[in-house]
Symmetry: C2
């Protein structure tokens, strides 16, 4: 579901990598004793030799033969294919079924009523050379969780349809009340557009793909090139996911057949007005019929028409009805029980459901996960058992609102609360460089993994390629400073893929990884996201898919085997210091904001910085620890590790965020008005942005308390660790 | 020829308007004694009652019936129509004929040779509702003074085709050597594009009108709206006018039948490669066939195609041949001899030739000048005679390179040098607010004229409307300061209309005036610049045309009648101080520039500031001077006025500018690489911009000498004036 996000930049890591790079010696691995290094390296080498581009291609071809949208037979078929593969790798795999309340379009009508009657195409034509574009049972072009409705009205163009655009509309004296808004994709996650339109009184919403954003303006269109053709449509959910993800009728608990459900009338995440995605080929005749003032220059896109605000005789009719019912979700779950620490779970997931054939989104990531499964299966066949339990998951229903992962996470809430070490997520992946986002306590860990795996094209470490890219993207003045830092900086996570229930609801430390940046295109959520497209324009030889399997699999193996889990809290405290300074600046820039005392927050960050440095000092003893020492102190170490991995839990609280208590993480959240886009320190930042001063003030207290709790826990971990080190 | 330029802003005038606005009393007029005010006001009121929108419409309809490009019968017909009108107004009018070497297209071929053979349309189709769009004898779409040639080659897109674009091309490793460049209109005057292309080794040049700049991206296209339609073409001269204007074979002297001419091989202003203007409708299939890298985002325009740099199988053929010969030019000249100062000429001109029918460019301005003629004719019929000689001119051949005005100015060089008081220019005009450019010694004079004439829509003074517009266009921080200044700041002049031979070759103080800003469109130099277009989309009721006649006629009458010519040198010195500080900053920002001593320049400006203040002090006696005193001191006053109006001569010198000695003005010039766009202190500024350090250094000396000479002359004028005042 998620579009690749370019890696945020490097910098400012005060505590450096463990400096164990002596000549001729393999670099140290955080959390491993020097004695254990060789065995771990051998294990990883064995694993990394397994993933095979030919297999990735084979799985992708099979899994993208037919449309496989969640809730339909194609999705079950793909789940069963993956299940059979995992079993064939010698792994313990099963389908864990849930269900969710899901709409399937029954009637879709989009017509121009005036000045002339005219039906819109609202479907994606086949293209030459791509057999999958002629598949039967293609998912209709629609937005899941749109309301049913039959509305007729004038049309107003609202640019991206975000709150700032409505401020501009108000200045221009244009109202959307009683009208259908026409918004272009971009500037926010799509679900924000109908939500904000509804808040302003609109009766319907059309969202079109502007060729300026992902069509011919950017490059050649499919099938000649990778960009969106004239009648390519971006499907997608408009569920109000910034409130909660998963089944709209089971917020907070797992949704099973016959289980407890809210009445539909109490569902909070189903949209209130009908909304439909359209191609620019269908938007063009609407714009051609629009009158009224010419749109502001920055609102004008790439279609060959004068962009206007609307008015005049134009009227459109939008009619949508859906069959709403509980539909099954098939999560494929693989478990490799931990030999010594079975109650510590290292998890790695990717979804398998698509909007249509979904070669890029999500199968490119899913097949890479499957090769991780095969690699681990090979180790298991050789008699190996992980120290910690490894859980691999292929989720269903992600596209609709992270349905499969959310229901699974909610159903396993208590287990995950106690046992969840790290959740690693992938989704669609391409070629280019490593994009990494997640919990900042894992930032240094990501760099260390990326250090040890080579980019397939250049042969250089993935870390170096990603760092170079990030540094080159910086303003010239900042580059010299960035060069000094050997690590990459990871991005905070908003939403848009299955990490959300783990990270932001259950506050399990999480990572989201992909390769990208050199495989742009415009087939996202369309019929044209096909095997043909992927093998012509993205990771054509699957070498980056293999590299992603090596990166994620290596991460899983280090987390499962480490003596001390490789969290580094100084990266978290440095990052928090930056976020605090950002919200302080934001506050200073708000002329009408009352005074706000940030002292509790800066004190908490200072406490965490101090605790983090103490932890690093205690951690310095780990490399020298003998196998015997580690064994005799096994129980103490277990306590330390529990404190380390459950540290992320301290960053959440039961109250959650204002107006959306399902989101518990106090540091990272998807923006209430940006959707996928992250808001860090969300209660404070959004309180300031939206002028909710009391929320912001209470946010300072809540965030400071969370950070203080984390600092206290880190201190306890340090105390334990320093005893272990002796 | 000139496109309207938005008025540059207000500000910073240290010496204010003469503060004679006592309650109930008409404001003072600079250069008039209080005693003479009432008579002058009565004269002006009588004049201003004459111009009539219905007449403007009638002349325009007649003069735009047929295409009337210079060198063709239509142009002579229009000249004779105007001549007859002037005579019917009771004025002494005559056609003063010159000639110039002018190319007329014989063969124009533009074809795609590969990947498929295809001829381009290269003509403008008729449109519904505009009978003039079906006229016979429409000027072929071409660029005058293109070379003849027959070239076939690959195509490279060069954005605007200015030097900065070639720097970008070099970074991208793209060469235009041996290729045809495709440039879009905009970013410079058109003639710069083939000149720079030739300097980089291109063999041909195509210039297209991008819909982003003046087509559907901006608004509805003709005939539905004012913007350029798919096959609308911007014709225009590409003569190398930054070298010199006028007949390419008679630089510096008047071109008459049988007179002295350069051999064609020595002409400096005829282009070296074939160049052709095309519509975006013809550019689109070329772009569709282009391959190679996608163009940088800022280079992409509004056509529905992926903008690429070129390469691949695409080849174009461009073949142009012209009939080159001396063709006649018909300047219509009106003279109203001065009763007491016949050897002081106040001049006002506008061209009459067009690229096709030319309703906006130039007839809208020409008819306004004709109504000035009628108004002066009415005064003459009533027995009035001006003090100074008034010369009105309708120039021919302006579109080709200011041919008629240049040859006239060169032929009358000696007279103009001694007698030229001020040259006022107009060209196409629309609706909105007053745009004024020119010699800064006339800045306060322009404000005073604009103060006394009302805007037709708001009824407020033109000065106030223009000031308001200029202030609103400023950054918020600068507005309060600007509000304090009651005047408008006038823009420096580059080129693009007939003021150039007067201002920049002969250094006669000049003004260029128009209304505009609220009549945008995209019919410039096309068949669609018609009566129908103008009366639907520009100054539809000709009330701004009347207002322009009132402004220009009032200016003429004040200049012809003033006891002391209304120059104010403090505006010039303030403006020069600003320009000097600009070039100092420019120098400071050039890291590789050698040290440059600006002291002579700042000293010269200080001297001028001092002289200007002394002049204002001497001038303060003018209002109180009695009629008798003025009469007895007539001869002394004549000397003062000679010093005043010939002051602008001091700002030029015989050496002219580097590489273009025809351009003598040291303060204002069209940019060597911008064309119409002005470069102030051109030798210094362009020397610094182009890294010609010696030129810049010599420029400092030359400009300082010119300003010192002006200061000395102002001091002599002050001395004379203070004696007159006593």
């Amino acid at each position: 579901m998620r579009r690749p996000i370019v890696l945020a930049a490097v910098l400012l890591v005060l505590v450096q990598l463990q400096p164990a790079r002596l000549a001729g010696q393999a670099p140290a691995l955080r959390g491993f004793s020097s004695e254990s290094l060789a065995a771990q390296r051998a294990l990883e080498d064995k694993f990394r030799a397994v993933p095979d581009p030919a297999r990735l291609r084979e799985y992708m071809r099979a899994m993208t033969e037919e449309p496989h949208v969640a809730g339909r037979p194609g999705s079950k078929k793909v789940a069963e294919y993956a299940l059979a593969k995992f079993k064939s790798f010698g792994l313990d795999a099963a389908i864990e079924e849930f269900e969710a309340y899901m709409p399937w379009p029954v009637e879709r009508r989009l017509e121009m009523v005036a000045p002339v009657g005219r039906a819109m195409l609202i479907q994606e034509p086949p293209v030459a050379g791509d057999p999958d574009s002629t598949d039967n049972d293609q998912t209709p072009t629609y937005n899941a969780y749109s309301a049913d409705g039959d509305v007729t009205g004038e049309v107003v163009y609202v640019n991206y349809g975000v709150p700032a655009d409505y401020e501009q509309l108000e200045k221009m004296g244009v109202s959307v009340k009683g009208k259908i808004v026409l918004a272009r994709y971009g500037g926010s996650w799509r679900g924000i557009k109908p939500k904000v339109a509804y808040e302003h009184g609109a009766i319907g919403c059309l969202i079109f793909s502007d060729p300026k954003d992902d069509g011919f303006f950017q490059g050649e269109v499919y099938p000649d090139g990778p960009y969106r053709p004239e009648f390519g449509v971006q499907r997608g959910s408009v569920m109000d996911m910034p409130i909660h993800t998963g089944d709209p009728l089971t917020p907070g608990w797992g949704s099973t057949a016959g289980g407890k459900k809210l009445p539909v009338s109490e569902a909070k995440t189903i949209l209130k007005i009908p909304v439909m995605p359209i191609a620019w080929g269908d938007a063009l005749p609407i714009f051609q019929a629009m009158r009224g003032p010419v749109a502001p220059e920055s609102w004008r896109g790439g279609m060959p028409v004068t962009y206007r605000m609307g008015g005049g005789p134009l009227k459109m009719r939008l009619k949508l009805t859906h069959e709403w019912k509980h539909r099954p979700l098939y999560n494929v779950i693989v478990r490799i029980p931990g030999a010594t620490l079975p109650d510590e779970w290292v998890m790695f997931g990717n979804h398998h459901d698509a909007w249509v054939n979904g070669a890029d989104d999500p199968i490119s990531g899913a097949v890479s996960l499957m090769e991780v499964g095969r690699g681990l299966g090979e180790l298991v066949k050789g008699g190996w058992k992980p120290k910690r339990t490894i859980v691999l998951a292929l989720w269903d229903g992600e596209e609709w609102g992270l349905l499969g992962s959310t229901e699974w996470a909610e159903a396993h809430r208590d287990e995950l609360n106690g046992k969840g070490v790290v959740y690693i997520n992938t989704d669609g992946t391409g070629k280019g460089w490593l994009n990494a986002g997640g919990s900042h306590s894992l930032q240094q860990f990501v760099s260390e993994v990326a250090r040890d795996i080579n980019d397939p094209r250049t042969g250089k470490p993935v870390l170096e390629v990603g760092r170079r890219k990030a540094i080159d993207g910086l303003p010239e003045a900042e580059r010299a400073e960035a060069e000094k830092d050997p690590n990459i900086r990871i991005a905070p996570l908003g939403s848009g893929s299955d990490f959300t229930p783990f990270l932001q609801h259950l506050t399990v430390a999480s990572l989201n990884l992909s390769f990208g940046g050199e495989s742009p295109g415009g087939v996202y959520h369309s019929v044209y996201d096909s095997f043909e497209w992927y093998t012509r324009f993205s990771d054509t030889d699957f070498t980056y898919g293999r590299t992603l399997a090596q990166v994620t699999g290596t991460a899983v193996l280090r987390l499962s085997e480490a003596s001390v889990l490789p969290f580094r809290f100084s990266d978290m405290s440095d990052t928090l210091a930056r976020y605090v300074s950002e919200v302080q600046k934001l506050h200073a820039g708000k002329k009408d904001a009352p005074a706000l005392d940030f002292a509790p927050l800066t004190a908490a960050v200072a406490a965490l910085q101090k605790a983090s440095l103490a932890f690093e000092k205690a951690h310095a003893g780990v490399p020298a620890a003998s196998a015997k020492a580690l064994q005799t102190q096994e129980e103490a170490l277990k306590v330390v590790n529990q404190l380390v991995f459950s540290s992320e839990r301290r960053l959440g609280n039961e109250q959650g965020l204002p107006r959306r208590d399902w989101f518990r993480h106090q540091i990272y959240a998807p923006g209430f008005y940006t959707g996928y886009g992250v808001k860090t320190l969300p209660q404070i930042r959004e309180g300031l942005e939206e002028g909710q001063w009391d929320e912001a003030r209470q946010g300072v207290t809540k965030v400071a308390a969370a950070i203080n709790a984390l600092a206290a826990q880190v201190d306890r971990a340090s105390a334990g660790l320093s005893r272990v080190g002796r």
